[in-house]
């Protein structure tokens, strides 16, 4: 079965998704002779003008409810339109997994761009942070539009970086000029050090980095403070040191940890505070659903509990 590339455009209502997709479709380099299926998951103010698309065909389908996002339904839509590719204008209030976990097997996410209105993003972000983190986290690029001179770009930068260290950021002024965000965000720990020491409050940030960029840590030594967790989901001789992580608020606090091999693995009680010094390798683990960073302990010692028991991912 041929692979169907998916171009995903996310962002809240009135964030400029339709305008951006329209401009993309009007680009002759993007629209030569492709058959495009355009899925509209949100009904905004701006409407598409497909007469301006230079080449190929565009079939528009409206998804009224996230319940319609099923493999079968989406496969049928693609078949009906003979689509070579799919563009999705996603609903700002739906979670990404509603789409990504229900895509037909041959659909492949090629591009994931988030649009945001610079004037409302800070307020939306503060009050709907779980939705922002859901969308901005995996986005490759975040485009802020309506970025007039009085917009605080540092604040936008910070809000994005709380969700994603990777995403490129660009700012589009009302006159159409675009600036790219080139601010560096150095990590608070040195990944090149002989022993990478993680401060107590930086565990969340480090956890995000090691899960996003596991290759950076292969063969390296790390030291961090954690709470022990015994779980049958890791093999014998292993346990899962980790921390309680809060992404948005108390409602979403979850324990995150890494598989750790140690002769003393079974001796640590649940939630007991420990300092772990270990070497990192990449290995298949069922709990990761694949390959991931596994710690091989060099030493584990009891520790004082951290001042802030709950960490954030930023």
């Amino acid at each position: 079965m041929k692979t169907i590339p998916v171009y995903l455009f996310t962002g809240f209502l009135e964030s400029g998704k339709t305008t951006f997709i329209q401009e993309t479709l009007e680009d002759p380099r993007f629209s030569a002779d492709e058959k495009t299926l355009l899925l509209l998951c949100e009904e905004g103010e701006v409407e598409f003008d497909l007469s301006k698309v230079p080449g190929g065909t565009v079939t528009v389908e409206t998804i009224e409810s996230k319940d319609e996002l099923t493999q079968e339904y989406l496969r049928n839509l693609a078949a009906k339109s003979h689509a070579d590719r799919v563009l999705v204008e996603y609903n700002g209030m739906w979670m990404l997994s509603d789409l990504l976990s229900n895509m037909p097997k041959n659909w492949q996410l090629y591009q994931n761009i988030m649009l945001a209105d610079a004037t409302t993003f800070p307020q939306y972000s503060l009050n709907m942070r779980s939705l922002v983190i859901d969308k901005a986290g995996p986005a490759e690029m975040i485009i802020f539009n309506r970025c007039a001179d009085d917009v605080d770009r540092m604040e936008l930068h910070r809000l994005v970086r709380e969700a994603s260290r990777r995403a490129e950021i660009s700012y589009e002024a009302p006159d159409g000029t675009v600036d790219y965000d080139e601010l560096e965000d150095p990590l608070p720990f040195d990944k090149e050090a002989e022993l990478i020491k993680i401060a107590d409050d930086d565990f969340g940030l480090w956890y995000t980095d090691i899960t996003d960029n596991p290759q950076d840590y292969t063969g390296k030594r790390v030291q961090f403070k954690a709470q022990a967790c015994q779980t049958p989901r890791v093999p014998k001789g292993c346990f899962a040191p980790g921390r309680f992580l809060m992404t948005c608020c108390v409602e979403d606090i979850t324990f995150v940890g890494l598989v750790c091999k140690s002769e003393t693995a079974a001796s640590w009680h649940n939630r007991e505070w420990i300092t772990v010094t270990a070497r990192v390798k990449q290995e298949y683990q069922a709990i990761y659903n694949g390959k991931g960073p596994v710690l091989v302990a060099e030493s584990i010692t009891p520790a004082e509990k951290a001042k802030n028991e709950v960490v954030t991912p930023y």
């Binding site: 009904e43 307020q123 009050n127 779980s130 939705l131 948005c248």
Partner: protein, 388 residues
Amino acid sequence: MTRIDIFSGFLGAGKTTLIKKLIAEAFTGEKLVLIENEFGEIGIDGGFMKDAGIEVTEMNSGCICCSLVGDFSTALEKVIHEYQPDRILIEPSGVGKLSDVIRAVEQVAEKNEVMLGSFVAVADAGKAKLYEKNFGEFYNDQIEHASAIILSRTQTVPQDKLETALHILRSHNPHATIITTPWEQLPAEKITEVMNQPAAIERELHELLHEAEHCHNHEQEHHHGHGHHDHDENCSCGCHDEHKEHDHRHGECCCDDHDHEHDYEEEHHHGHEHDHAHEHHHEHGEECSCGCHGHHHADDVFASWGVETIRKYTAEQLKAALKALDEGSYGTVLRAKGIVAGQDGNWLYFDHVPGEADVRTGSADVIGRLCVIGAELDEAALKTLFEV
């Protein structure tokens, strides 16, 4: 006793702007506490609140993924006991449900000496259609549970869009007072006056109570719940002038069923009009702003037609329309009355009895409204006549 007012509204609707106006103009001299449940609003206004001597309590459970009710009741009780204010203003999160906040406040009211005030929904006039569909879970809940819906930015929205907004909001809430007049044209007291209509609030409480009881016999319960308001002096009927006039004559609210007898003793013709007018309002309830429910003894002879409108008129236009009412082609019109926005920025008050029409200017009101009372009214023709 502490009075609690809730100001809900989606993110960016203008809740803070409204609260600031009311604090500065209407709540002066009162001991106030503002409970802030939306992130990112208060930073802007901290200085203002401090200058006004207002306590601000921020709640940390305002975001979309949090459950509100538990913490909220605790925080509210703490505020009541710690400050013993005259009034508590609650600004819930824009992405929260007003019904949840009401329920939490009610729980507190059961155990404390507090009075439930107004349940306001602030709504951006230009976004009703968009938000109804896309943020319905919160937005529609806020509109449906509000005792007063206050539209923001109405001056920047084209007439047809504003009409659509009014239609959408009314379809979600047939009984709340709606304010469509730009805020700067209204004294804050006017806003608090209409948002304080107690009947609508009581109704809200009954509705929530019935919701909680999973009452399916909605229609009946609904009317039942309203029954006792009819005897209330502060009737929520949108047609205020009629009330006042009526009150003068009968010393009672126009909605009182017991008026009936008095009416006959009085000048027969007039008494009839008023009495039946209100009865019939209910039969046409969809379009009328009158909140006085509970009259079931409908009269088949008289009818009323009432509509809220944002249309702007000239005095000449109104005079011509009122003159046309005498022609007979609209049914037998006994009385017409209304308050509407004038094209020159003034507001026009009109009064009509057969052969006699009076149009005068008056102070701005919260929304325009037209009422016609008579027999065999041709509603479609009336709509055309008044261009609504």
